[in-house]
Amino acid sequence: MSCQYGERCKFLHVTQQQPKLNVSGFGAQTNSNFQHTSLQQQKPNPFGFGVQSSSLPNGATDFGSKQNHFKPFENKWTRFSPLTPGNSASRQSDNQAQAANHKCTDPESCKRQIVEDFEHERPIWTLTCYGHCKSAPCDIVGDISYEELRLAAYDDARRGLSLQSIVERERSLLNSKLIEFDNLLCKPYAAPLNSTLAIQRPVSNLDGSSQTAQNNTPPSASSFSQLNVPLSTGFGMRPSTPSNSAFGQSNSFQLSSQTSGAFGTNNSAFGNAGSFGSQLPVQMHGSPFTSNAAGFSQNNMSAGSKAFSLTAASPQINSLANNQLPGLSNVINSTFSAESTMHAQLDKMKNDNFSGDTSIWLKEEWNHGEIPEEAPPDAYI
């Protein structure tokens, strides 16, 4: 080591291009510990969910050759330097540079970016929004997260749907989404209606004027149409707790607040409740811990205890438990939900006790001294 500090030097003196990663030994370590199944006989899932197996597909045998993919950083900070296209080694960084530098000035280049993304950057999870230009609005809207889909499946199972029906319902969702992606790919690129990105988004429809506060462009034309899956019996999802009755408790099936709006449930049910009342009995299940060490009190493990207080549940929600929701209804319809939320909040505001006339906030303009001193209710913001 030629450095004057020798061993004491705080800097790494390396000669290789990718020093740090090898110094830490990660490459060798990962390989040696890698004992994974290589699912060569996996059935391709035509719907994009991956393979039908309970374990993840991974190519243990391919890992070595794909080593480069596990060094994402090495190309990252070259994004500011001019890159020569066609250099396969820096293809990844090319992608990065293009993605980073893409400006939506020319629909053709946007299209190219989309084509490239769909070729190289298609994640396994398909129920997603997509934007080709970072920090720009989505070209495809309608996110569904793992948890939302899972909850819908659990709710369906609780209602007696078979696993097969659930899988089919999910595949329908997938198909709709794939169509959206295909459309974006095949049709000439048209920029989405510009979402105001900022500030005016929450107030879109309050006074009836519809601002372009939407980053979900054609929600009513969304391919997420009503999916009416006929209920079938047969499959009972394995109860996850010893006492299964918890599943039958109340309706928690909501993928978006749209549902609550549709059923008229609004904030006032909770917001104006004077205090928590105990309306729902608490289901106390036995502790899954068979051996309990001393230390914590075990009060909360006694079954049947009703010592908890719960928020007053909306009576409407209680009645929902008895309604049969037709499977996965409108999955994402943000505009509708926004509107219904707004209407719900308008209702709430009428009930709220304000000192003044809140219609002042509906004006288009205020003259000197006209703005009330108290802040406007949240819904007007």
Partner: protein, 396 residues
């Protein structure tokens, strides 16, 4: 290896936590004061273990648990380590004073499942984020939220380091909040909305009068859109669209609050700085990919001491990274199932992660009869979590 062989469920030789949940784990949180671990699960339970350590030998002692009526999605500890908050698909948050053996009580409710919960000690408030497109702030002694904040879409991720709060919603929105900005005071960051000659008036009045009196002192007419802008600036600091292209999965605020990380389903993490002057330091990097398979980043956790961070993904791997030197410090071996959540303990000496199905391939990959959840404890070595200086002559 062309034959199907049993995948190693524990390739990293981590310690297993005893009596794990019977269904997938949705969140893992260590107490800020001691090595008590809480896990929430799709089996509706919230469990707490005491994690013991004797040299390199880890132990776990089940302590207590409570039930929700529906799957539990999130959890948070109070800063004094006495109380746990848990929320989920029953649209409630329960406050559980487990250290004293107290009963849980419901302290928050939403119109849709609660995806995220955080305790903000600086404000003595609980923050909840829900699929009903709102954030609510709660004083746990009151039944009504202190404030309800509308979001552009469903809350998918949340991180708080006071006064910075970042919320990731569906459709790639990221909303940045300045929690120091009380509702009624004029926000400094909205000064640009005011005509220059009026700015001094606003600043003069800003901490004395409600914003509306300030506005009344200005020249008029004042249009509705501008007024909306003011009040929205009160509530939010900034709304940005994700630098990533696909669905947001997780966010984590920098320990120094200068920015945040965002992880998505596309095997990518964005490093974003809040200050306009630091935008050149923003970048994204790929991770959790295997060949052509692109997995999601499910969890982002900063090391409490070294301020490096860990990512955990649907590919069943977890990695340690240093954003300042832009290095991956360590890639751990892939487990046979995804890792939906992970956490460091309060001093960073323990990294906990769960290996269980996260629904990343839908219902068809879920086998209720064989599904299991494992919670592993990993003792990070210094080389894995301590930042490495940049190669070269420029000092950090």
């Amino acid at each position: 290896m062309s034959n199907f062989s049993a995948a190693n469920p524990n390739p990293n030789k981590s310690s297993e936590v005893a009596q794990p949940p019977t269904d997938s784990v949705s969140s893992l949180k260590f107490s800020p004061k001691a090595n008590f671990l809480v896990a929430t699960s799709w089996d509706n339970q919230v469990r707490c273990w005491e994690i013991t350590r004797d040299g390199t030998t880890m132990g776990s002692v089940p302590k207590a648990s409570i039930s929700h009526d529906h799957p539990v999605l999130c959890s948070a500890w109070k800063d004094d380590g006495t109380t746990v908050f848990s929320g989920g698909c029953d649209k409630q948050v329960k406050m559980w004073p487990l250290l004293s053996g107290g009963q849980p009580v419901t302290v928050a409710m939403h119109d849709a499942p609660i995806k995220e919960v955080a305790w903000v000690p600086e404000m003595n408030l609980l923050v909840t984020g829900s699929w009903d497109k709102t954030i609510k702030y709660w004083d746990t002694r009151q039944s009504n939220p202190v404030h309800t904040q509308q979001l552009p879409d469903r809350c998918y991720a949340l991180t708080v380091r006071h006064p910075l709060m970042v919320v990731g919603t569906a459709d790639r929105n990221l909303v940045v909040f300045n929690l120091q900005n009380p509702q009624s005071h004029f926000p400094e960051n909205a000064l640009h909305l005011v005509k220059p000659k009026e700015r001094s008036i606003m600043q003069e009045h800003s901490f004395v009068h409600p914003i509306t009196r300030c506005l009344n002192a200005l020249s008029f007419p004042f249009t509705k859109n501008s007024l909306r802008s003011f009040f929205n600036y009160n509530a939010e600091f900034k709304r940005i669209t994700s630098p990533l292209k696909y669905q947001t999965r997780c966010v984590a605020a920098f320990p120094d609050q200068q920015g945040f990380l965002v992880g998505s389903i596309e095997g990518r993490v964005g490093v974003h700085h809040l200050d306009d002057a630091q935008q050149s330091k923003n970048f994204t990097f790929k991770c959790h990919r295997e060949g052509n398979e692109i997995y999601s980043v499910n969890s982002l956790n900063f090391h409490p001491v070294h301020h490096t961070f860990a990512t955990a993904g649907s590919d069943g791997a977890f990695n340690f990274w240093d954003k300042d030197s832009k290095q991956r410090l360590k890639a751990m071996s892939r487990c046979s199932q995804p890792i939906p959540c992970s956490a460091f303990n309060n001093d960073g000496s323990i990294f906990v992660y769960s290996v269980c199905y996260d629904w990343s391939k839908g219902a068809e990959n879920h086998n209720p009869s064989t599904a299991k959840a494992t919670i592993f404890l990993h003792l990070p070595q210094e080389s894995e979590v301590k930042g490495k200086p940049r190669v070269g002559t420029n000092r950090k």
